[in-house]
Amino acid sequence: MSSPSETRPTGTIHDIGYRPYEGVRLGEGAVAWSLFRTGLRHCFGLGRSGRSKVLPMTLLGAILLPAVILVAVLVQAGEALGLTGQLVPYSRYTMITQVVISVFVAAQAPALISRDLRFRTITLYLARPLRRSTYVLVRLASLLVAVFALVTAPLLVLYVGGLLADLPPGRETKLFLGAVVGALLLAALLSGLAALISAVTTRRGLAVAAIIVVLVVSFTAVAAVQGIATEQEMPRLAQVAGLFSPYTLVDGLQVWLFDAVASTPAAPTGRTGVLFALTALVVITASIIGLLARYRRTTAL
C-alpha cells in the first residue's frame, strides 16, 4: 500500500498575483504601424480562423498560377518559339485576372472594415488613444497594400521570369515599373471604393454583394458600350466610357502615361488622358473624404 505522500505531486504552482506594467508606452506612430500590420495580415486571413485563410490564399494562388505558367513557357520554350518579349504584357495581366482581384476586394474589404462596425469592435479602438482619422486611414492603407500586393505579385513573377529568360533588362524594367504604378492606382481606386461601400453597408454579406456588383457591372457595361461605340465608329464615346470602371480607367491611364499595351478598344489620347487622371484623383479623394465623414458620425457607439 502506498502512502498518500508518495503519490502527491512534487511541483508547486505559485500564484504570483497581479503584476502591474511599468514599461514603455509607444506613441501614435507605433500604434498605427501595429494596426496597419495586423490589418494587412488579416486581409490574407493570417491571425484569423483557419476558414478565413481559404479564400484569400486560393485567390493568391489563382492570380499567380497563370504568371507561373507563362514564365515557365517563356523560360523553357522561349528560344524554340522565338519569343522576344512577355507572352502577356505586364499592363494587360491585371485586366485578364480582374475577376480574381474583384473577388478578393469584395471579400476582404468587408472583412476588414465592416467587421469592426458589425461586431462594434470600433468602440474599443475609439476608447484608446488613437485618433479616429488615423484609425480610418490606417485601415484603408492596410486594404490598399493588400490589394497592391495581390496585383503586383504575378507581375513580379513575370518580371523575374523575363530576366531569367534573358529578355532585355532595361526594357523589361521600364514596362514592369509602369505596370506597378498602374497596380498602385488600381489598388487605391478599388480599396477606396470598397472601403466606402463596406463602411456604409456595415452588413458583411450586403457589402460583398454591393462591391461585386459595382466592380463587375461597371466593367461589363463599359465593355459593352466601348464595343458598340467602336463598331458604330463613335471613338469619343468609347473613350469616355472607359472612365466608368476602375479597370478601364487604370488601363487607359497606363496607355496614356506609359504608352503601355491597351486592353480596351478605345484608350484615351491627349486631353482625354487628363480627364482620366482627374477622374482617378477625384474618386480616390472622394472615397477617403467619404470614409472619414462616415466615421465622424460614429459617436453612437
Partner: protein, 310 residues
C-alpha cells in the same frame, strides 16, 4: 492628491432627452459602483469620461485631465469594457488581447506577456486560443474585461459587466471586480442596474436617476448597524417569549418579532448577557446577529422608484 474622476455640473442634452442633468461627482480610489435603471445616464457618463461624447454643460476631469481637451491622454490611462458585444468572432482571445494591448501603445513582446497575464487573471485558460465566436457569454465578458486591463490602466470603466451572466458567473465576475480594485490597485467604476451586486463589491456607491445624482456615499454609510441584535433560540414562540422576559428582567429592551427576539444593543456586554441568560433558561441559542441596513432599504426611502432591488 488628484481625484480619479471629478465632475462638476456635467450636463448632456440631446434634442429630445436630457441624458445627464447638472451632475456633480467625485470618485476616488477603490471600487465605485454606479447604480441606475436602464436609461439613467450611466453609459452616457462613461462615454463622456472617455472623451468620446461632447458635453453640453459643465466640466469633467479624469486624473486631472479635462475630458474635452485631453481625451487621448485620458484614454491612455483608462481601460473600458463596454456593455454591448464588441469582440470579433474569427479571432482568438489571445490574439485579440495582444492586439488591443498594442493599440494602447505596448510593444509587441510586452503586449504578449501582459495578455497572457490578464487572461489568466480573468480566468480564461486553454479556450483563449479558440476563436471568440464560439464563446459563452461568461467567457466573452472575461475576454472583454481582459482587453480593458491589458495595458495596466489606472482606472477601468466597466459598463454592466454582469449583464447576461448566470448566478455563478456573476459571482465570479463580481469577485474579479473587487480584486481589480483591491489587489490590482486599479481604480474601478462599475455600473449596474442591480443594487445588491454593487453593495457587495463597492467601497462607494453613486446612484443616478434620470440623469440626476440621487445619492453618493460610502457603502459603509448605507450598511451601518441599526443598533439592533437579532436573537434566535431553539423552539418556537414560547421559548422566544421566555428569553425576552428574562432579558427584560435584566434591564434590556427586547421585542418579540415572530419567533425571533429583537434586542436593543447598547454595548458589547449585551452578547454576554444573552448567552448567560439562554444557558440559565436551558435554551439552545441558534444565532445572535447584528441587523444591518441594506442599500436598497436606504433607497426605498429616497424615491429611487425605478432602481430595481435584487
Amino acid at each position: 492628491m488628484v481625484a480619479v474622476i471629478e465632475a462638476q455640473q456635467v450636463s448632456k442634452r440631446y434634442p429630445r432627452v436630457t441624458a445627464l442633468d447638472r451632475l456633480d461627482l467625485t470618485v476616488g480610489d477603490g471600487v465605485t459602483g454606479l447604480v441606475g435603471a436602464n436609461g439613467a445616464g450611466k453609459s452616457t457618463l462613461i462615454k463622456i469620461l472617455l472623451g468620446l461624447l461632447p458635453l453640453t454643460g459643465g466640466r469633467a476631469e479624469v486624473f486631472g485631465h479635462d475630458v474635452t481637451t485631453e481625451g487621448a491622454t485620458i484614454r491612455a490611462l483608462v481601460g473600458y469594457m463596454p456593455e454591448h458585444e464588441c469582440l470579433p468572432a474569427d479571432v482568438s482571445a489571445n490574439d485579440f488581447v495582444v492586439h488591443m494591448g498594442e493599440m494602447s501603445g505596448l510593444p509587441h513582446a510586452a503586449a504578449r506577456e501582459r495578455a497572457a497575464d490578464v487572461l489568466r487573471q480573468v480566468g480564461l485558460a486553454e479556450e483563449r486560443y479558440r476563436p471568440m465566436g464560439g464563446y459563452s457569454t461568461g467567457m466573452k465578458q472575461r475576454a472583454k474585461l481582459a482587453q480593458a486591463l491589458v495595458h495596466h490602466p489606472r482606472l477601468v470603466l466597466l459598463d454592466e459587466p454582469t449583464n447576461g451572466l448566470d448566478p455563478r458567473s456573476r459571482d465570479d465576475m463580481l469577485a474579479l471586480v473587487r480584486k481589480i480594485g483591491t489587489e490590482f490597485g486599479i481604480a474601478v467604476l462599475v455600473t449596474s442596474h442591480l443594487l445588491g451586486e454593487l453593495e457587495r463589491v463597492s467601497d462607494h456607491v453613486v446612484v443616478l436617476d434620470a440623469g440626476r445624482l440621487l445619492r453618493s456615499s460610502a457603502t459603509t454609510d448605507y450598511l451601518h448597524t441599526t443598533g439592533t441584535l437579532v436573537v434566535e433560540v431553539l423552539g418556537g414562540r414560547r421559548e422566544a417569549e421566555l428569553i425576552a422576559a428574562a432579558l427584560g428582567g435584566a434591564g434590556v429592551v427586547a421585542r418579540i418579532a415572530g419567533h425571533l427576539v429583537e434586542v436593543e444593543a447598547r454595548d458589547e456586554l449585551i452578547y454576554d448577557t444573552v448567552r448567560d441568560l439562554t444557558v440559565e433558561l436551558h435554551l439552545g441559542l441558534v444565532r445572535m446577529q447584528e441587523r444591518h441596513h441594506r442599500i436598497e432599504d436606504v433607497f426605498r426611502d429616497e424615491e429611487a422608484g425605478r432602481v430595481q432591488p435584487v
